[in-house]
């Protein structure tokens, strides 16, 4: 690879690294949002369980008691709606992020096609293949975590649906 080639490669790699950094930041913020949603969902699930327990021991024939239970359920439903909306927003962003990441990965793969890797340039940023590999691995881990979290949410949603059916 000539010096011109290296310079050309570097000129292509830097914008890609920037894009990747932007995508990573988006992803990290999305992950953090997801963590917040997961935490909210866990709190909601806990409160739902507590309400279900109270419903089994409360005198639901007593109108005001039934009203209090309804009120709590209503609040939980409202919270759930907010969490769901947040989750949907994150999901959409994540879809966009995944698409974006796919494009970046493709770009990176095509840029990495030349057999001879460019030598590292001290002081230059965004051109470290090892760092790039670490970032890819990190994204893979994050994707797995998101998948696990999505599975937990799906289970919780099924449980809630069953509880609603029982109440009705």
């Amino acid at each position: 690879m000539t010096a011109e080639d290296r310079q050309g490669h570097q000129d292509d790699q830097n914008p890609l690294d920037r894009e990747q950094a932007l995508a990573d930041l988006d992803q990290s913020i999305a992950d953090r949002e997801q963590a917040i949603v997961d935490q909210d969902q866990a709190g909601l699930d806990h409160d739902e369980d507590a309400l279900a327990l109270d419903r089994t021991v409360a005198e639901t024939d007593h109108p005001p008691t039934a009203a209090r239970l309804k009120r709590r359920q209503r609040q939980l439903d409202q919270r759930q709606a907010r969490v769901d909306a947040h989750q949907e927003q994150i999901g959409l962003a994540q879809d966009g992020g995944d698409d974006r990441q796919a494009v970046l990965d493709e770009q990176q793969r095509s840029l990495s096609e030349p057999v001879v890797p460019p030598p590292p340039v001290a002081g230059e940023t965004g051109s470290d293949p090892a760092g790039h590999a670490r970032a890819v691995a990190q994204r893979a881990r994050n994707a797995r975590e998101r998948a696990d979290a999505a599975a937990r949410r799906a289970e919780a949603a099924e449980r809630r649906a069953a509880a609603v059916q029982d109440r009705e």
Partner: protein, 776 residues
């Protein structure tokens, strides 16, 4: 009245002298004169049965002259020869009464005499005999003899037979026994009844008896009856004296009977007391027999029904008082089934008016349990009924008022349980009155946050005990609807008091959600408007001040910059933070003036060599005039523009990216630098970084605060640092509050940091030349 002597009507006192003289004197002349006034014949014999004295009646009965008696020629011809028992007793000198003896008279006829043999004794020895003689043919019409005496003796009452003079000529066993029980000798009781009456002195009963007996004796009365008391030291007794004239043969003229009526008198007294009691109470008492004839009718019944007892006793119950068919049947059924009935009925009085009465009827039975009639007690309840009707009318009126009210009304008893909800209350709460009845009032109240949090027990004013005269008002309360939703209410809870005390409370409430929202908006608007004036005044009076918070270089830990933070100085000297006035200033177009003031101050500081960071609002970022102001201030102050860093928020940038790019380019052209504040909170992509010439990314406190504990925040900061390196930018971490976070930031490669752990914002006078300062 002085009680008469118990024996006064039965004869002389037992210890008193007998009115009938006994032949105890031997004085012949005196004896003869006394004997001659007697109605009976009297013969006095010596111990040899020789006749020593005979009165005129005896001479008449026996047909012997005084000379024969004086000659001692007459011997006892009157021995009861045919009566062996009498003859035997006579031989032993015992007293014998009423022995019938037949004698042959001198003229050849026979006469039957009734003879009493009374022995005379002296020093315990037989000393002679007194015989009293009566013509038995005359005795046949007198009591005390034969079957008549036996008849009298059979009477349980005390009977005495009097002659025309009042002498007692016969008594029965009851009389004699009573006399003996009261200390009289067996024959002493046969005194003069009239005299005994007179001996009682002024005793009214005795006088009344004497007069009555005279009236009977004289034929003015056929019979005479008198009840009189006869009390002894140990007991009180009553007797009834009955006297009747006797017109038969013989000396008997009057038959007197005394009947001990003490028991019936007591019984009558009790009846009188009971009757008086029944008359004194305001209860109508009526008794009827099995034929439904009235047997008793007290004064209370007279008062309630209008008929007097004289008008109804012994007659059927007045027809007007008989209940109508259905009711009568129910009463009859009740009496037949369980023996009593009670209830409230309307009855028609004698004057035709109607009165409500509480009636209690009970079947009366005799000792054998057989029905004897019905006793009914009735109470006039017209006042109570009228009062109750008035109360019901008042309640209905109150209910009508409550039902037509536009406000919700709930009544609560003393235990705090709901007893009534008006229709408006039902509509507001979504509950029916039936559903809420008996529920605690706290079931419809929510916690102070108004979000449905259950209030702690006793925390709500409505759950507190009701106190007399204490009205509770709350304009900022929250109630819960049936569907669990809440709404803002204003309520007044006043104690419900009656003459007997506090009965609960009345809660009057209204839905103030809309009004409260309107008032809240209004209040906020007023507050904002007030802030407008205050901001304008602060600008005019130069009462804005700048605080500075150091920013350190994490490689050297030295303060390299200070962020200028705006404060407002109130006239009273208080410092007000930007959160209070910046939103108002931005909304009402005052932020531009504030930005200009800050820019002037910042450039002045930079002119002294201080490195400063200042915030520029989104509004000013889009204002070309602000750039000219910046350039002018730098120029006029002589400040080195490289010492100045302008901060704009990510939000401001996203509002108008083109204007932000112009702003950034001109700032750079001026020689100053640009920092992107609150980085990471904009919920958008960061692609603008490819076109916007910023120098610093200020990592928001949101990601820094929990950096040490939240892996997600850690990843974000890590990504920001990577990004900044990719774009050739520097990072400033905001909100560093502990040493662990500070070290993490160093490890992550963050360039600068600020926060309470490093230094709190302080007045600018503390020093402007930051290169001399060092973080704690």
């Amino acid at each position: 009245m002085k009680s008469p002597d118990p024996t006064s009507f039965f004869g002389p006192p037992a210890t008193g002298p007998s009115p009938r003289p006994h032949p105890s004197s031997t004085e012949p002349e005196l004896l003869a004169s006394v004997l001659d006034v007697l109605d009976d014949g009297v013969l006095v014999l010596d111990r040899h049965d020789c006749l020593v004295q005979a009165n005129a009646e005896a001479s008449s009965l026996l047909g012997i002259g005084p000379e024969a008696i004086a000659a001692g020629a007459w011997r006892l011809p009157l021995a009861p020869a045919e009566d062996e028992a009498a003859a035997s007793r006579l031989r032993t000198r015992e007293a014998i009464r009423d022995v019938a003896v037949e004698i042959d008279l001198a003229d050849g006829t026979r006469r039957t005499l009734g003879v009493d043999y009374l022995p005379l004794r002296r020093n315990g020895m037989h000393n002679g005999l007194v015989l009293t003689l009566r013509d038995a043919s005359k005795d046949a019409g007198t009591p005390g003899h034969g079957s008549l005496q036996a008849t009298l003796d059979a009477f349980p009452v005390h009977v005495a037979v009097l002659d025309a003079m009042g002498d007692i000529i016969a008594t029965n066993h009851a009389w004699d026994a009573f006399a003996a029980a009261n200390g009289a000798e067996p024959f002493s009781c046969r005194g003069n009844y009239f005299a005994a009456c007179e001996a009682a002195g002024e005793d009214s009963h005795a006088l009344h008896a004497r007069a009555g007996l005279d009236a009977v004796m004289d034929g003015e009365l056929d019979q005479f009856t008198l009840e009189y008391p006869c009390h002894g030291p140990d007991a009180e007794r009553w007797f009834v004296l009955r006297a009747a004239r006797y017109d038969g043969p013989g000396p008997a003229c009057l038959v007197v009977a005394h009947d001990d009526v003490t028991e019936s008198h007591h019984h009558a007294d009790q009846l009188r007391i009971q009757a008086a009691l029944l008359d004194d109470i305001d209860v109508g008492v009526v008794t009827t027999d099995l034929a439904q004839m009235v047997t008793y009718w007290n004064r209370g019944a007279e008062s309630i029904y209008g008929w007097t007892r004289e008008e109804v006793v012994g007659r059927p119950v007045p027809q007007a008082l008989v209940p109508a068919g259905g009711l009568l049947q129910r009463i009859t059924d009740g009496l037949d089934a369980v023996g009593h009935w009670e209830g409230e009925i309307d009855v028609v009085r004698r004057d035709g008016t109607t009165v409500p009465v509480e009636l209690r009827s009970r079947v009366t039975v005799d000792a054998d349990g057989l029905a004897t009639g019905v006793i009914s007690a009735s109470v006039d309840v017209s006042e109570r009924v009228a009062s109750q009707r008035a109360l019901e009318e008042s309640r209905d009126q109150a209910r009508a008022v409550a039902d037509s009210m536009g406000q919700g009304l709930v009544t609560v008893d003393v235990d705090g349980c709901i007893s009534y909800v008006n229709p408006t209350g039902e509509a507001l709460l979504g509950w029916s009155q039936e559903a809420l009845h008996g529920c605690p009032i706290t079931d419809i109240t929510a916690g102070p946050d108004g979000q449905g949090t259950d209030p702690a027990p006793g925390a709500h004013a409505l759950s507190s005990p009701v106190r007399k005269g204490v009205t509770v008002r709350d304009d900022d309360a929250t109630f819960v609807r049936q569907d669990g939703s809440t709404f803002a209410v204003s309520y007044t809870a006043a104690p419900f008091e009656t003459a007997t005390g506090v009965q609960g409370r009345v809660v009057l409430f209204e839905d103030v959600s809309e009004r409260k929202a309107y008032e809240d908006n209004l209040r906020r608007d007023v507050e904002k408007l007030a802030w407008i004036g205050r901001v304008q005044a602060a600008l005019a009076e130069d009462r804005f001040v700048l605080y500075a918070q150091p920013i350190i270089d994490l490689r050297t830990r030295e303060v390299v910059q200070r962020e200028l933070l705006l404060r407002m100085l109130e006239p009273d000297g208080r410092i007000v933070g930007p959160g209070n006035f910046l939103p108002v200033a931005e909304k009402y177009g005052l932020i531009g003036d504030i930005d200009r003031w800050v820019i002037e101050q910042a450039t002045a500081i930079a002119a002294t060599g201080g490195r400063v960071e200042l915030n520029v609002s989104a509004q000013s970022v889009g204002d070309p005039a602000i750039l000219e102001h910046i350039e002018r201030c730098v120029r006029t102050s002589g400040a080195d523009p490289s010492l100045i860093v302008f901060e704009i928020t990510e939000t401001a940038l996203l509002e108008d990216e083109a204007a932000a790019r112009v702003f950034a380019e001109r700032i750079h052209a001026l020689g100053s630098r640009l920092a992107l504040d609150d980085f990471g909170t904009g919920y958008g992509t960061f692609t603008y970084l490819k076109h916007l010439p910023v120098d610093f990314l200020k990592i928001d406190i949101e990601f820094v605060r929990d950096l040490a504990t939240n892996r997600a925040s850690h990843h974000v900061v890590e990504a920001v640092v990577a990004l900044s390196k990719a774009f050739g930018l520097q990072t400033i971490a905001e909100g560093v509050e502990d040493a662990a976070t500070l070290e993490l930031l160093v490890d992550l490669g963050v360039d600068f940091a600020q926060g309470y752990h490093i230094a709190r914002p302080g007045p600018l006078e503390a020093g402007l030349h930051t290169h001399e300062s060092r973080a704690a």
